[in-house]
């Protein structure tokens, strides 16, 4: 900079120049980190797609594994994972949502509430393999569900409950307090307030949270490893029996476990099958997420404020 212009009371000083340079640097670094975040995503997806390309076909999705998994498709594991998501949702959603409603709407700030909240936070940090072992002890043996879709779903549900409760509480807390105050002052009970005003205005956020969490957890191997997943089961190739191949008390095939088996335990499986399975798994999670986002947009459009 040249010497200060005495006629300009707002002339730039050395301080501003330095500040401007720092600003540019910070902007550059943060932008770089953002790219560092998303590049691996594209890289992984591209890599998987190229490797999986030879296997990908309609038959790969809709046919069952054949010849020791060296031929055919992955319909059995795919529908198994999907059923796991549905059954887990049916178990986890009511428990998690109602517990979240209690904690956000009824619970007073006392030692019991703080203890529950602490427990929820800590449960969310328990490794999935520990949940798998818990499911084996609790559901498979103690409740005598044997290794089954039901036992695995219960395990996945327990694993996701802490996160579901947290996301439900957040969705409920986003409903403005003046709505509740208005109801109470007209003599509404807390439940009437929740039923008529709070839940209708938070249900989109609640359901999105629940579906996202369950879909993520159902993609994990550890919770189903000891509780219900099996390497191979003979299921029908067509008709209703192929659409819903597993009963609640049956063991089932699942994508994550299938991928683990064909990648590490089985010989002579074409490489493209492994990557194809990974792609389908990612596709399933993306499909479920897209559904829940679409569902949220639909509910939001009906939202009343």
């Amino acid at each position: 900079m040249s010497k200060p212009d005495t006629n300009n009371p707002f002339a730039i000083t050395v301080n501003e120049v330095r500040g401007r340079n720092v600003e540019r640097l910070v902007r550059f670094i943060t932008l770089g980190m953002t790219w560092a975040l998303i590049l691996p995503v594209f890289f992984i997806l591209g890599f998987l797609l190229i490797k999986a390309w030879p296997a990908l076909s309609v038959g790969f999705i809709f046919d069952n594994p054949e010849k020791n998994m060296t031929a055919g498709g992955i319909w059995g594991p795919l529908i198994g994972t999907f059923m796991l998501i549905i059954v887990s949702l049916l178990i986890a959603a009511p428990i998690g949502i109602l517990a979240g409603v209690y904690l956000n709407e009824f619970a007073r700030d006392n030692w019991f509430t703080r203890f529950i909240n602490l427990a929820v936070v800590n449960l969310a940090g328990v490794p999935s393999i520990v949940h798998g072992l818990f499911g084996l002890g609790a559901f498979v043996y103690f409740f005598q569900m044997q290794r089954s879709l039901l036992a695995a779903s219960c395990t996945v549900a327990v694993m996701t409950l802490p996160v579901i409760i947290t996301s439900t509480k957040e969705a409920l807390a986003s409903v403005p307090q003046p709505f509740r105050v208005a109801c109470w002052n007209m003599g509404a009970s807390k439940w009437q307030t929740i039923r008529t005003i709070v839940l209708p205005n938070s249900i989109s956020g609640i359901l999105t949270g629940v579906i996202l969490q369950v879909a993520r957890a159902a993609g994990e191997t550890a919770p189903i490893l000891f509780t219900g997943a099996m390497i191979s089961s003979r299921i029908a190739d067509s008709g209703w029996a192929a659409m819903v191949p597993y009963g609640l008390e049956d063991r089932f095939m699942a994508l994550s476990y299938h991928l683990y088996i064909i990648s590490t335990q089985w010989q002579n499986v074409p490489e493209s099958f492994k990557f194809g399975t990974a792609i389908v798994m990612i596709g399933l999670v993306i499909a479920v997420n897209s559904f829940s986002i679409g569902f949220r947009i639909y509910l939001r459009s009906r939202k009343k404020w």
């Binding site: 003046p178 709505f179 105050v181 208005a182 109801c183 002052n185 007209m186 003599g187 005003i197 404020w305």
Partner: protein
């Protein structure tokens, strides 16, 4: 369990007891109706260790508009919230003393707070219509109390129309009753918040700075509406706006630090305040 507890104090409720407000002379009141609507005796309230109300004794007369004035934090809103016991929904509140409304101590065990809140309506500083249609807002209270369950559709429509006509909102919204209430202007929202109390047939309407979110025209309209509620309802208004207190109320209660300093007719309060603290506040020396 509620953490608030009530200890009724019966020693002062004897009818022969001397009125505690020496500065208030009922003969100077400009009203025709001498019945009492709200009568508080030795009311004390604590938020945790902080005492927000101290030995409050007041008699609010029926069918007039009473203003509650005083600087921020003096306990006006807290006192208002005692009258429908909504304070108990907030945590860590402890109350002692009696409040009689319609000759019934509202802290008695046989008082259902939901019925109390039905009969004692509340209007807030920030208009808070519910995120449902205008029509459903007006009927919300009636629906939760199931008072209008037997009514036919056309009778319900009449209830809605009457309530909205009473607040001078009917002509504006009659063609969009199904649109959501939160799309209305602030002043229309505030009128709606008053209209939704009417189907509940309240005896008392409490208003906590009902005009402070509104512009000048909105204030004028809502004040006109409050004026029209006189005689049918007992209205208690908390306000920060001295000019409004002067314009829109019949009697004023001046509070400071959780205590009642002066209660007199609005004319007396503004022309001949008895207490020096009142005079200084009204002149804008503090607060």
């Amino acid at each position: 369990m509620s953490t608030s507890s009530i200890t009724p104090n019966t020693s002062t409720s004897s009818p022969t007891a001397e009125p505690t407000m020496k500065s208030w002379n009922p003969q100077s009141m400009p009203t025709t109706n001498d019945k009492l609507s709200i009568r508080a005796r030795d009311l004390n309230l604590w938020y945790g260790d902080f005492q927000a109300l101290q030995d409050v004794n007041i008699d609010i007369r029926k069918g007039i508009i009473t203003g509650l004035i005083g600087p921020s934090g003096c306990g006006k809103t807290t006192l208002l919230r005692c009258f429908n016991r909504i304070n108990e929904r907030y945590e860590n509140v402890k109350t002692t003393g009696d409040i009689e409304i319609l000759d019934k101590n509202i802290y008695d065990n046989d008082v259902a707070t939901r019925q109390l809140r039905r009969r004692i309506g509340m209007v807030f500083q920030r208009p808070n219509p519910l995120p449902i249609s205008i029509y459903d807002n007006v009927l919300f209270g009636a629906n939760i109390h199931k008072t209008h369950k037997q009514l036919t559709r056309s009778e319900r429509n009449d209830v809605v129309q009457q309530a909205l006509e009473q607040v001078a909102l009917w002509d504006t919204v009659k063609d969009k009753l199904k649109t959501r209430a939160t799309t209305l202007t602030l002043e229309q929202q505030q009128k709606l918040c008053i209209a939704r109390l009417i189907p509940l047939k309240p005896d008392v309407i409490l208003m906590d700075e009902p005009c402070s979110a509104l512009d000048a025209e909105g204030i004028e309209q809502v004040e006109g509406l409050i004026e029209s509620l006189r005689d049918d309802y007992t209205v208690v208004i908390v306000t920060h706006n001295m000019a409004q207190a002067r314009r829109a109320t019949d009697e004023c209660i001046f509070m400071l630090m959780g205590e009642i300093i002066e209660h007199s007719s609005t004319a007396d309060m503004f022309l001949n305040p008895r207490e020096e603290k009142t005079e200084m506040y009204i002149q804008g020396r503090y607060g």
